[in-house]
Amino acid sequence: MPFIEARGLGKTYVRHAAPKTGGISRLWKRETQHIPALTDANFSIERGELVGLIGPNGAGKSTTVKLLTGILTPTEGTCTVNGRMPWEDRQAYVRHLGAVFGQRTQLWWDVPIRDSFLLLRDIYALDHAVWQRRLDELIAELDLADFLHTPLRQLSLGQRMRAELCGSLLHEPELLFLDEPTIGLDAVSKLKLRAFLKKENHAHGTTILLTTHDMEDMLALCSRVMVLGHGKLLYDGGLDALLQRYDTVHTLRVMFEKTPDLSAVPASVTRDGDAYILTYEPAKLATSVLLPQVLSAGRVREMTLKEQNVDELIARMYKEMAL
Amino acid sequence: MMRYVVHSVKMLMKSAMQYRSSLLMQVIAQFVMTGGELMAVTVLLSRFRVIGHWGAAEIMFFFGVMQSTFALTELFGRGIAAFQGFIGRGEFDSVLLRPRPLLLQVMCSQLDPRRLGSFIVGLAAIWMAAVQLKIAWTAAKALLMAEVVVCSVMLLLGLFLIEATMCFFSVKSIEMVNVLTYGGRSTCQYPVDIFPTPLRLLFTYAAPVALCMHWPISWVLGQPMVVLAQGWYYVTPLAGLVFFALMAAIWYAGAKHYRSTGT
């Protein structure tokens, strides 16, 4: 049985709002809206996997994470994590998981973070020596020593995120949820965070489920992605395969010593000043086939090959999936 | 300038109406709360009958004037009264970017329509007391009451400005200034002449609530605290305007300091 398994999982919110139109009756009338946030999601995740969850805003990522953490109960379908249903006996269930929500805090705002960690020791009923060893390890890995005695509210965003991570990993959870963990972080902090997560996944076999808008996070961390849109699971598989599917156009920019004869080259050619831009579909025309033809067309002074960047790819994918 | 004020107030009304039911709840809450204070005063009066040489109805009148002017002050002066949060959220920085007088912008940034609840209770108290006392209203007295309300509101705004000015200097224990604002309300809802000299001097000359409110009112009630020629009762409330101008000047100096240090 897989570690995490979802069957037909879905969640519909009921919201009450004032009607948009209608005169004075807007004062007391309320309309009931049913908003499907997630419908019929089926997936399974094995222990130790590092899975990315992507999709545009409002696609159902956070709802999925909330369902899996037991914060929400589903309106349809079911899911199990390690054989347990998250929303049943929540207190017992959450003992074995960690979660970081990039825009929310799970630590306590106004006490030094070490005090928060002490409190977590007691909340997860950890043995003091075990806790101390783990804390020392995380302090070293996450570089927390400098602000261990500072209240959370005084920390920078990057420091806060590291503290939150530490807080969610002290009890060595089997499963870690990260909801936009790199949001608002600077480049150095992002790189550090990614390296840390990789190591944590590797060293402890922690299963990690990550939602993000940052494609660099995906590339660096996840071999497997799930794409959500309009509350539906649209893709579930390898990140490479996904990129290849949408990475349909490459451009080759070439500058020649003299005017070349490109009539035999099977790519479409445009000029950009002195340079020639060749666009082609790598699926139909292998780069290895194209290159000798270009080289034989004239003396090449300079040549650059450009793939599409990941953000463009994803934007195209969203567009094609009509998100 | 007027257009800016009108437009701001419109916007604030609109945003308050976004949460109509919550707003209504809060107005009722304020109504009940001030009503609770009224009840507390009534409990005291039912046990003791008189406070000094003032009877129950007169006390009620003083209570009503203080509560209603204080409610008006909080209604229109929330930007100043809640200035600490305004600075804390960095909103003051965006105010500095706009080409309008600072204090006006701060005042136009927030309304507190909840205070209508307190205001109604205050008015009701005045009305009940006036009926009981059978005050013979004349144009002169009505005019004086209007002047008292306007000047008292300005005075109270001035008191709130002290606290707001301290926010520029990141002073701790700002709550201390509550002594003058909320403490002033609790104290001066009773006529100031029942208190011992130090308190009376404080609220007559330092924070001139008595000049703005108690002296002219006591004349309207026909029991002047201080006997003056009639015209003087129209002059003493102006102390509120002077006080406000003074505090506004100090506040502006504080704003200047804030811009140079960027606390």
Partner: protein, 269 residues
Amino acid sequence: MNRLWISWKPYLMVFRLRALMETQYRAAALGGLVTQVFFGLVYVCLYTVLYDGADAAALQDTITYVWLQQMFFRMMFSNDGELTNLIMSGGVAYMMVRPLDQHRFWVCRDVGGRLVGAGMRMLPMLLVQLLLPKGCRMALPDSPAALAQFLLSVGLGAVCLCELSAIVDAINMKTLDRRGISAILNLTMMTFSGNVIPLTLFPDSVQMLIRYQPFAQALDAPIRMYQHAAGLPEWLLNVTVQIAWIVVLRLLGRWMWQQRMNDMTVQGG
């Protein structure tokens, strides 16, 4: 026994942390001290005028009541900003990823803050008493026994208050509107606990009713014990009433929190 200890450990820890945190707020305590002394003096003056030399003993009792009111103002009127923010921002739902009884957790935290906050203001206020003119000072406790009864009762009062406060929080989670209903509830709490005017000054006809209602257990009950050393049967009655209200409020609050937590898992934060 050991299991019980472990299951209560996080709650005792949060009590301790909150108490320690409260000791950091010295500037606020100083500001509070000035305000409270001022209000105390104003009320003392007011009551002196009201009694008008008629009943010196009753006036002294009322003055003592006023000073105790002011000393415990912070305890009565404390608001856990952290919980408020969590409720307003919907962050309470995210706290559910911790294996905790949220209700017990926040109540314990609240008790820690209130007791220490009260203690920090009580000592300097006692010193201030020495500086006051004779007619304005509070009286000593009725007897050492009265002092002991008072101190125990203050502890129970704080717990009672926090259970009440947790109920208000549960209501806030439902209405998501801290300022409306909770303002009324706070006022009710302040008025009927004796923090606005001494409950002893309410009309004699309602005295029995007013001294045994839940709010009175927080402040009025301890003050009465301070002023009047009760014999064993009466003392037992007073403490039993306090504890009984704690039990009732606790059960109610627990149930309400559970309802809110269930709502959240259905509605989303």
